[in-house]
């Protein structure tokens, strides 16, 4: 009887340690099709299908596809066909697709690339369907940066996919247009889904949990194009409280753990009918690039000190010379979401989290506005300039206006200030 008891405890410990959500350890048994598959990628005829066989296949360099049209690459299912780039010595990506037209990837897994699992660049119409991208082993900063990484593409569909373990973003779309990200499962990344400098993006029906930040809509300066027209709806975003495991140089390094959504310096964004629950820092944050820059300067001057900013001073940053970049968010419409964010201590590893704790106590806001405003925030008639209007139509939402620009003096919780008579998108 005593033996059984010890065994039981041991077994429980074992199950706990193995099932810990800080590691992903699928069983793999590799075989080699590198030469054969590389040749198929090089020689593929337009309008053809490359069939990937069932099995686990190890590659020591990136597989690249270049200048092809109407090509489908199809596996036997995410659990059956696995392309692994574990220990690769050549190239940083797993799959690299450039300068193509109408490419569809379906039914296989790509894992353990040194850098990004799947990078797609300068391609018109790229579809990922029932794919999985992941990093095996411990979930930490040694993992690659991006899972799905289409950049400078026109026509992107990412659907029914799974992405985990990215030390930057699991599903990332950058400098692209006409993007649909739907019905994916995204977990255990720093950023779950990130739309960066992209135009006409729809993010819906996704299950996003256990990331540092759930869904990010970012606009960063100095890039080839700027984004707008983003719709985020019917997503289930919950418990994104994972400790940030990116590096300080990366922009997602600023994301505090426990952030459901962040809208950064982007215009024309509609967020509706999402469920945003279980976040310890905030449900939705609407912030300007000035805030990032200010946090940056704070880091520069006091790298080890946990001091709070005392107001955000004017600074001269290079992005101000870019006439096409607007560091302030605007034309934001937030409505009909469901919230329940009651974890009580915000992320104390981030400046934002500390700030919230000191200024707001143990109340996790559902919607936060940083309150750093452009000079022309108010028009000549004294009303808010349409370009910077934020409309929030939510019942019983816990709201927080930070007034970061004025040393938090004008901080308030009155969401009625953001009820709009007329919605401008």
């Amino acid at each position: 009887m005593k033996i059984n008891f010890s065994l039981l405890i041991l077994l429980i410990l074992f199950i706990i340690s193995c099932k810990s959500n800080n590691s992903y350890d699928p069983v793999r048994s590799y075989s080699d099709i590198q030469k054969d598959l590389t040749a198929k990628f090089i020689l593929a005829e337009d309008s053809s299908v490359i069939e990937l066989p069932e099995g686990h296949f190890l590659f020591d360099k990136s597989l690249s596809l270049e200048g092809k049209s109407h090509l489908t690459i199809k596996g036997k299912g995410i659990d059956k066909t696995v392309l692994s780039f574990k220990g690769q010595t050549d190239g940083a990506e797993g799959l690299r697709i450039t300068n193509c037209n109408s490419i569809t990837l379906e039914d296989f897994t790509v894992e353990d690339a040194a850098g990004d699992n799947i990078k797609v660049m300068d391609t018109k119409d790229i579809t990922f369907r029932r794919m999985k991208v992941a990093w095996t082993g411990k979930i930490n900063e040694d993992n690659g940066a991006y899972g799905f990484y289409p950049v400078m593409c026109n026509g992107v569909i990412i659907e029914e996919c799974e992405s985990m373990g990215s030390s930057d973003a699991g599903v990332y779309v950058g400098q692209s247009e006409n993007v649909i990200i739907r019905n994916n499962i995204v977990y255990q990344n720093v950023a779950g889904i990130e739309s960066e400098n992209s135009d006409n993006v729809q993010i819906y029906g996704n299950e996003v949990y256990d990331n540092t930040g759930g869904i990010l809509v970012f606009n960063l300066p100095g890039l080839s194009r700027y984004g707008r027209n983003i719709k985020v709806y019917e997503n289930n975003v919950y418990n994104n409280n994972r400790k940030n495991f990116s590096v300080p140089g990366a922009i997602v390094g600023y994301v505090p753990a426990g952030a459901g959504m962040i809208i950064l310096a982007t215009s024309n964004v509609e967020v509706y009918q999402n469920s945003i629950k279980g976040h310890k820092t905030g449900g939705i944050a609407i912030v300007s690039y000035e805030l990032i820059k200010a946090m940056d300067e704070m880091n520069d001057e006091k790298p080890d000190e946990a001091e709070l900013p005392d107001g955000i001073a004017a600074f001269n940053a290079d992005y101000k010379s870019d006439p096409n970049y607007d560091p302030y968010p605007g034309k934001i419409y937030i409505h009909n979401n469901v919230y329940d964010n009651n974890k009580w201590i915000p992320d104390l590893n981030s400046d934002m989290g500390k700030l919230l704790l000191v200024k707001n106590g143990l109340k996790t806001p559902d919607v936060i506005i940083d309150g750093i405003l452009p000079d022309n925030y108010l028009g000549e008639n004294g009303r808010v300039n349409d370009a910077y209007k934020i409309c929030i139509e939510e019942e019983g939402v816990k709201f927080l206006y930070l007034d970061a620009e004025n040393d938090f003096k004008g901080m308030h919780e009155n969401v009625n200030n953001y009820k709009c008579e007329q919605i401008i998108l």
Binding site: K35, D60, K61, A92, T98, D142, L223, G249
Partner: protein, 361 residues
Amino acid sequence: MRTNHFIIILTTILIIGCNKNTDDKVEKTTAIDEPVEVETYGLGKAWLSEYGFFENELSQLKPVENVHPYEINSPLFSDYASKKRFIYLPEGESINYVNEGILNFPSGTILIKNFLYKKIQNSESPKIIETRLLIKNDNEWKPLTYIWKEDQSDAYLEIVGARKPVQFISEDGELMDIKYSIPDLNQCQNCHNKNEVLTPIGPTAGQLNKYVINNGKKVNQLAVLAGNGSLSGLPELKNVPIVAQWDNPGHFSIDQRARAYLDMNCGHCHNPQGSAKTSGLNLTLDEFDEHKLGINKKPVAAGKASGNLLYDIVKGKPEESIIVFRMDSDKPEIMMPELGRSLIHKEGVELIRQWIKNMDE
């Protein structure tokens, strides 16, 4: 006692079972089997010798009449390999001079680049590893790669690339043991990419504007090409641009040398039409905007490759500059350039380090 024993064994098994697949190191080698028959897929000739670029013994690389040798001022670093470059011109054709960009080569031109190590462990003679061709037809360039046989008698077409173990002796007399990477055809375009069109990188007027020893005499390469009718439209040499020799401090300033080095080693991707255009970093010689050159510029998507550093270049502080961190790495997820080397180019890193150190803060 029996119980304890049992539990210990069980624990051990569980621990082993639990740790499985987490930290095992995977190494994979693509074995090189020299083919007897070469599959060409209709892309080019099976063997290098079939082109007839070189006379007598192929490995001597002694060019026939319409194959012209050339050097460039600041080459790309390729794991300390030496390069012997040639231009094949079709009968009666000549290159048209242009001041900026790649010289205007006639259709039918083939650029030939041989990669070799001069000093090889346990060998008296140099060893040629691969020969890359860029073939121009109807205004389009196509790449092909030939891998040299161990006996150096010929080289065969290989489209999927390979890794070849090489033991060479460095200039400091050190034995270097590397797995030299020969690119597959799709990888060629990663670097040879301008607006999604495959383009040569090296042969610009400024890079070829170089004095070489020819038949015991010091002559300008461009003048030689013009003299034998292979180059038309060459202006007076004083009006031809010149790219600095990165390793010639006697003739060129550190700024000129660093910029030439960055142009050749980074600028082929880091330019507004190149593969790294999404980074917003432009390292070509014609960029003068400090921010676009990386000074106080934050990385866009470097991820952990930023090495916990905030900016590409911090004036006066090479140790805080991401550019130095990435050049000084040989990890694939961090290193720059990301293709074409497995070793760190110590001399190149030192040049860029000094260049940044010398910048006024």
